[in-house]
């Protein structure tokens, strides 16, 4: 087990390293000079050069790469070109929005999807089942940004129940903060819930076809008891897999949703940083996201072992 984890962590680190090289190279060939962008159309050439020097952009590529990587190792993400504050500060400020957003949507989609999946599976073949699954099928097809648009139109513009967007900051109070995350979380979470509900249902149905379900029924368990006691836990593996994938997806989904609701999250930071050619911020955020995805995958794999004892002793 330990061995497995350490191997996975090693692979994760190698993946991160590869990712860092890819990101660095890709961003290196992005056209556009951050210094010129900052100084604008009236700037003189020597002012631009002076600024490049200040930012360290005149150094050769390799040196910049290694000093950046070296910094990362000690937790120093470098200093933003445009904001000229440590990238880490920017990231931590933004994570305070993005992470709750992703987690709330994940929570939302889970608490909706799993009961719906169970409900549908337990009524397999009935009208309720097909009705629920038809709704889920439509849910899967809805692009989250469009859904977001409709939500804003209905709940913020027409009914004025919630703010249309923006984030007052957590110092304005937890409730105020949460309130501004409600619509975005729904926009992100509901389409995901549809996917998850379908996966839950089909995983349950797969499991319900297994021999041990028949054994359990032969013991005298009712259908419902079999569903909860035997099927659910076995169906969790595919559900967990999708949950893991979804988390990565939600993180990416925040990029669009944060723009629709003008939330100051990581997604908008990275978007803005790319247009401003604040490459060091882009690199930092990308590394963070990649690391998160790797970590989440690892956690999901470890949680498999929690669910399924067969995977506990594996190499």
């Amino acid at each position: 087990m330990l061995n497995y984890v350490s191997k996975r962590i090693l692979i994760g680190i190698l993946t991160l390293l590869a990712a860092s090289i890819v990101v660095f190279i890709v961003l290196e060939i992005v056209p556009g000079d951050p210094a010129r962008l900052m100084l604008g159309m009236n700037a003189t050439e020597d002012a631009v050069q002076a600024l490049q020097q200040q930012m360290g952009l005149d150094q050769p590529l390799l040196i910049r790469y290694f000093s950046w990587i070296g910094g990362l190792l000690v937790g120093d993400f470098g200093k933003s070109y445009t904001y000229s504050v440590p990238v880490l500060n920017l990231i931590t400020e933004r994570i305070a929005v993005s992470l709750p957003l992703a987690l709330i949507s994940l929570f939302l989609s889970t608490i909706i999807a799993i009961p719906v999946g169970l409900f549908s599976a337990s009524r397999r073949g009935t009208m309720t089942d097909s009705g629920t699954m038809a709704i889920a099928q439509v849910g899967v097809a809805i692009p989250n940004f469009w859904f977001a648009l409709l939500l804003v139109y209905v709940f913020a513009v027409s009914l004025r129940l919630v703010p249309a967007g923006g984030f007052p900051g957590w110092n304005a109070g937890v409730w105020a903060g949460l309130k501004s995350l409600i619509l975005p979380s729904i926009a992100l979470g509901l389409p995901q819930a549809a996917i998850l509900a379908r996966v839950t249902r089909s995983a349950l149905l797969d499991v319900l076809g297994e021999d041990y379900i028949r054994t359990a029924r032969a013991k005298g368990l009712t259908r419902r008891k079999v569903l909860y006691r035997h099927a659910l836990r076995n169906a969790l593996i595919p559900v967990l897999t999708i949950l893991g994938l979804q988390f990565a997806f939600l993180l990416a989904g925040t990029i669009i949703i944060e723009n629709v609701f003008y939330l100051p999250g990581l997604g908008r930071l990275v978007f803005q940083a790319i247009t401003q050619r604040d490459l060091i911020v882009v690199e930092g955020v990308v590394m963070l996201l990649v690391a998160t995805v790797i970590l989440v995958n690892l956690l999901v794999d470890l949680s498999y072992a929690l669910v399924d004892p067969r995977l506990r002793g594996r190499s």
């Binding site: 100084l39 009236n42 904001y83 400020e93 913020a156 004025r160 249309a164 629709v260 003008y262």
Partner: protein, 469 residues
């Protein structure tokens, strides 16, 4: 009520106007946090600021500024001639990263006469000097705080920066130790809302009470119809042009450029891209300026003429070209309309959207483009057509000569004549097709008073803003 939430579209990268060109910086700090020797008011006039008065020598080369006394920076340090010299020298320095370095190019020396008097000697007379000293890039900073102003701006203005939640909002509050007339607001919050739809929603929902430069033209009628809001369509210094690469065939041919200019229907363009809110221009000059002359007739919409000109230029069937568009909505939407109109006369313009960084790199610096649409928002920038190596690749000795004369003249009537002469040259040479003056669409709560109606420079001067009873 003594607090106000304002919406701004762009977040400033930092808050030091002497180190970055972003208009977003000026929109927060100009006149609120930082002040210069002079300042520019809502009408575009030059007024005294930290310099309480000045004298100009006969030859127009020596300016003697008398400074206000008892002025303190936000950190409590005193303001004096030392700071003025430091600021001006720093901006002119070889290592300077001031975005508007040309503003200081005419300065020869800066001398301290006494703590409240500064003498500035110019290399040659400059009619715009006092105006230039009123720009955001020319504000006075203290040597102690100059390097940290990006994050913790320390100025002499009536507001101090309280808090900056990156990506979300910037809060400024009243500076009780201000040397001048105290301001009415205790607190102002600039909320950053880049998305037009969100901006509309935020105003409607009352989350923000003022949007001095509202990003969505199409939503304007909706607010005009709503008595809760005041909608003010003002002017800006933004002459919007369809820039053409004057050295690159076929744009090196005057007839081709004329054909393009005549193919554009400014009314359709303004209706389609700006929902009717811009003013058409026929040359590179703001319509609100006293020296403005209407030259739109020179390039009136006439597709038949365009086709004829094209044929004369040797392109009877038109040609294929590209149109690089930076992100603003006037460019992207305008570009779509212009491309469609050019298609009518046979010119197939492929639309290439670019980001600002790319635009600066490829179009502005690299001159690697055929056509582009951009708004030149700097005030008093007629001279860009006289610059060497500017991205239009326009080269007219006659025009240069006129500009040189303007710069050396302080007399208003002479200048007016020269300005008009310059406008005519441009309208005839068509180095770019002149489209419209960008409007400033301000929308705010009907009870808010004192916000600028026009945008002579990018600023949200809050010194006179208050809530009506």
């Amino acid at each position: 009520k003594t607090d106000l939430v304002l919406g701004v579209v762009l977040e400033p990268p930092h808050l030091d106007p002497t180190a970055g060109a972003a208009t977003a910086i000026g929109e927060i700090v100009y006149a609120n946090v930082f002040e210069g020797l002079t300042r520019i008011n809502a009408k575009g006039e030059v007024l005294p600021a930290l310099a309480e008065s000045w004298t100009i020598s006969e030859d127009g080369k020596l300016y003697t500024f008398k400074l206000h006394k008892d002025v303190k920076f936000h950190d409590g340090t005193a303001f004096d001639a030392q700071d003025v010299k430091f600021s001006l020298d720093r901006a002119r320095d070889e290592k300077s990263t001031n975005p508007q370095k040309p503003l200081f190019a005419s300065i020869d020396t800066v001398e301290i006469v006494d703590p409240l008097t500064v003498k500035v000697t110019l290399k040659q007379p400059n009619g715009d000097f006092l105006y230039n000293m009123g720009w955001a890039a020319a504000v006075i900073v203290a040597p102690e705080s100059a390097d940290t102003n990006k994050e913790k701006p320390v100025g002499t203005g009536p507001f101090k920066v309280d808090n900056w939640a990156k990506g979300s909002q910037i809060v400024i509050s009243k500076n009780p130790a201000y040397w001048g007339t105290p301001v009415a607001l205790d607190k102002a919050t600039f909320r950053i809302i880049p998305d037009p739809a969100a901006a509309t929603a935020a105003l409607l929902a009352g989350d923000v009470q003022a949007f001095p430069v509202f990003p969505s033209y199409e939503a304007v009628p909706q607010f005009q119809a709503d008595p809760r809001f005041k909608v003010v369509i003002g002017t800006t210094e933004g002459e919007t042009v369809l820039g053409m690469n004057n050295k690159k065939p076929p744009f090196d041919n005057l007839k081709v450029r004329q054909a393009i200019a005549h193919a554009i229907d400014r009314k359709t363009l303004i209706d389609g891209a700006l929902f009717g809110l811009g003013t058409p221009i026929g040359s590179f000059f703001p319509p609100h300026h006293p020296a403005y002359i209407d030259l739109t007739g020179e390039s009136a919409y006439d597709p038949a003429l365009s086709k004829k000109l094209l044929a004369e230029a040797g392109h009877p069937d038109g040609f294929k070209t590209t149109l690089k568009l930076p992100p603003p909505v006037y460019a992207r939407r305008g570009g779509e309309i212009i491309a469609a109109e050019l298609r009518e006369i046979g010119i197939e313009a492929e639309i290439i959207p670019v980001e600002w960084a790319q635009w600066l790199e490829q179009v502005f610096k690299g001159k690697d483009y055929d056509m582009t649409i951009v708004s030149h928002t700097e005030p008093n920038d007629l001279n860009i057509f006289a610059r060497d190596n500017y991205y239009f690749n326009y080269d007219s000795p006659a025009f240069r000569e006129v500009i040189k004369q303007i710069e050396a003249t302080s007399d208003t009537t002479t200048r007016t004549g020269l300005y008009q002469q310059a406008q005519k040259i441009l309208a005839a040479d068509v180095p770019a097709a002149f489209l419209f003056q960008l409007p400033k669409t301000g929308i705010w709560d009907a009870k808010v008073e004192g916000l600028w109606e026009n945008g002579p420079i990018p600023a949200n001067d809050l010194t006179a803003v208050k809530w009506a009873e």
